[in-house]
Symmetry: C2
Subunit: 502 residues, 2 copies
């Protein structure tokens, strides 16, 4: 059995390498690639995708899995090998439903789609992106058909990012949450408002960059196993546990993206950098799901990065860097300003109280597009209508509306809900962490993050994808994803800032 297992590990190692190379091609595409590389890059990514898929679905893998079936049942189910065999089996069964030709076609479509989206966004012209998005939706509908019978056409999309979770389950969480969040936002809107104009001044980009780098270094980002670059849309990408990269976007006239975007991506990177090296170069060596991944980024961005304790430590340093801009703003005012609640057009700039409403809007639209009840050409209109109804605002143009996110151009349908789920999980983890580490707020206020990072490493990071996402969450906090701690967190935080009795 040893021999079969090693054979299987050799193949999954190759698949890992192909995927890592593909990720680097993608990273480079978004950071440094010259325009002229688009066509070649699209073919290269398509080829690597196809080869990885061919290997993952090969007869050889299938037969090795069959041979190892009995053996795997004798293993401790929590052992690395048992978890690996379960995961390889899951991927094998799933990917075997997807034809290689679909993967090649899809890969080409999304590489061209991303370039088209960039142009469309730059010119705020949805029609440049429209033919590409039509293709993408058509391909995702075809994708669902490989997984028939399904409860809902959206289920197979969601399963790619949140294995095991169904559309119905998400809707059961989201529907009551939406009502409550809309209520909370309304209560806040009726209160006396806070001020955040001071965030919109000129802030030297190099100073912003350096401040961000200093902070994430102290949070625990390992620069020997990672780097940071700039890109239009920030993202995290890993090419092995020893090379996890983030990108950031700096705006010289707005402190938010550089500050909180950097913290956000650092959260993703800390997760990947914290995975146990014993499971390197296997499909276990990555975050377990998008929601759990997002719980990490949102945890560092919001729960830590927008907390009063955090800024007790960092605000004097930030003031030092930007004396003329922030010298006259005290900590309390700064804290309120970075936690302002204000319905806005742009998801990535949205505050914690409105963010999930942006997500629910996207999930609704994705479902409508896939069901066919909404034509792609009518998407901008539908977008604006939903914005009006959920958030009370309508974007002035498509660049700030339907074209704002890179996701659809990259073929990611079913991904958005995981952002909101991530918010919920982050609060669930925080509640448990507060109970486990009594000194946590003082630690943060002292700029000491080792207790937080160690808790996350021990409970979440190290395990990579060994367990199913819901199993992992249950192991840590004893229950599945729910919105109770999140709503409690919102009420407590905004109750204080806006003087509201919830």
């Amino acid at each position: 059995m040893e021999e079969q297992l090693n054979q299987l590990k050799a193949i999954i190692g190759e698949i890992y390498d192909l995927n890592a190379a593909k990720s680097l091609l993608g990273w480079d595409h978004q950071t440094y690639m010259p325009k002229g590389g688009v066509k070649d890059r699209s073919e290269q990514i398509a080829t690597l995708s196809r080869l990885a898929h061919e290997k993952a679905t090969s007869v050889e893998v299938g037969s090795l899995l069959d041979k190892l079936d009995t053996y795997s049942k004798q293993l401790n189910p929590d052992s690395n090998d048992a978890c690996l065999l379960r995961q390889v089996r899951r991927i094998y069964d799933k990917e075997n439903r997807i034809p290689a030709s679909w993967i090649t076609d899809f890969s080409k479509i999304i590489t061209l789609g991303q370039s088209a989206w960039e142009n469309a966004k730059r010119e705020s012209n949805f029609s440049i992106f429209l033919p590409h998005l039509i293709e993408i939706i058509r391909m995702r509908q075809e994708y669902a058909s490989f997984f028939q019978p399904y409860q809902h056409i959206y289920d197979p999309q969601l399963d790619d990012f949140e294995p095991g979770m169904t559309t119905l389950e998400v809707q059961e969480i989201f529907n009551p949450l939406r009502e409550t969040q809309v209520e909370i936002v309304q209560r806040i809107a009726e209160s006396s408002q806070v001020e955040n104009k001071f965030l919109y001044q000129f802030f030297d980009e190099q100073k912003q960059w350096k401040f961000g780098v200093d902070v994430i270094t102290e949070l625990g980002f390992d620069w020997e196993r990672g780097r940071q670059d700039r890109s239009i849309h920030p993202f995290t990408s890993g090419f092995g546990l020893g090379d996890v990269r983030i990108t950031t976007r700096l705006d010289p006239n707005n402190l938010n993206p550089g500050l909180f975007g950097t913290l956000h991506e650092c959260g993703h990177a800390l997760y990947e950098q914290g995975i146990d090296p014993a499971i390197r170069r296997t499909p276990l060596a990555t975050g377990v799901s998008s929601a759990v991944h997002e719980s990490q980024s949102r945890f560092w961005e919001n729960i830590i990065g927008r907390s009063l304790s955090f800024w007790q430590h960092y605000y004097p340093k930030l003031q030092q860097n930007f004396q003329s801009q922030l010298g006259g703003i005290n900590l309390a005012a700064f804290y309120k300003g970075i936690n302002i609640v204000k319905p806005s057009y742009i998801r990535i700039h949205a505050d914690e109280a409105t963010y999930n409403l942006h997500i629910m809007l996207r999930m609704d639209l994705e479902i409508a597009l896939l069901e066919g009840s909404l034509a792609v050409k009518d998407l901008p209109e539908a977008w604006n209508a939903k914005m009006k109804s959920y958030l009370g605002v309508v974007p002035p143009d498509d660049a700030r509306g339907v074209l704002q996110d890179i996701h659809w151009s990259g073929g990611l349908i079913g991904y958005f809900p995981t952002y909101a789920l991530g918010n919920l999980v982050a609060s669930q983890l925080w509640e448990k962490m507060e109970a486990d580490i009594p000194t946590i707020s003082e630690d943060i206020a002292r700029g000491t993050f080792v207790s937080v990072l160690e808790w996350l490493r021990g409970n979440i990071h190290q395990h990579g994808s060994k367990y199913q996402p819901t199993d992992l969450i249950r192991r840590v906090i004893g229950e599945g994803i729910n919105s109770r701690p999140y709503l409690q967190y919102l009420r407590r935080k905004y109750g204080e800032i806006y003087h509201i009795e919830f």
Copy 2:
């Protein structure tokens, strides 16, 4: 036949994609990769190498080539398809002699070897690199054994870079050339010397970068299909005809590397950017051999970039940028200074008159290592002895001696001779170009490079690897590689600068 040809093209397209991805992994390794990525990166490159090799040597390719054999003979032998089929056949026959396991092992060894070399060079400690180089030499000896019978163990190494050329042929060119070059260098040493101290002052790196960028833009470097980054050892790498990248090294206390290194890599890049798009994503879409590639880089670096005409145009601009450093140096003094002849330790800093001697030294040592007449551990000593005998100088440490070049750490044995051959070819092309374009010197003095670039595109670049290197050279100048035009060029140039009657 159409169908078989398309099948073959689909496979070679995939091979091209794998190699392009591999090149990006390598580019990134030398530009942006964090330290922690070394181990993973080594495995990734090994995997892609092996998969490309498996495809190139597959039964499927062999059987398609056999089926297309008669068809290919009916084609116009200069047609793209005929050239492609010849090239694919050559690669297939050659690579089929190399076991896949050798490629995997070698790839891992050189990725680790490069990191070890970087450390060894930094600490000027050959022993860090020694065990890696022993492995590399052993692997290259094994490599030769796959091509038995050979005239000389060095032949199969050379053939990787200069297809069709033998060790004996190179030695028949180099042996008399060495004698004459040593004589020329001696005559120069006995003449009244020129001054170049002004090149060794503080030159702001950003200004150096910008000046280089401006110059290569005017030479014709296409920034929509390329970019420039910094690396320890400058190199050119392409991931498709639409994405050809160069790197440069800037020294704040020496103008040479930034200036001439940038021109050198630009020469390589102009070649790759000039290849006919009709042969894209095939093994024809690359420079035909290392010597021809080097003829392009050395042409722009030396024949153009160290010519009086070139600086008639650019020197006033350079002076403007570095007024305090160069304001008091007139054009004649500058021209002499950048053409100083002075035996030195470092190959890449060597002048045109001594450069080839560095190369011949390396070729001699490579041959001795492969033949086994020199033990790897004795290499530093042998290096220093040869330096003494060819150039009359001995490097003060291994960093400036045997550890100076990246090549061996990357497994490149048999590559160095092509640098000297490239110098010869550059002069051969220049002689022909001068005859074909009567206005060439005035064009250059006006900063107009379009006639030069068009000549190179038409005669060399566009063809990529359609013809064998010697065939290509014969097509353009009517004879094979020889040193006559090169020696004439040296005598004319240095006769003038050093007032010598050769």
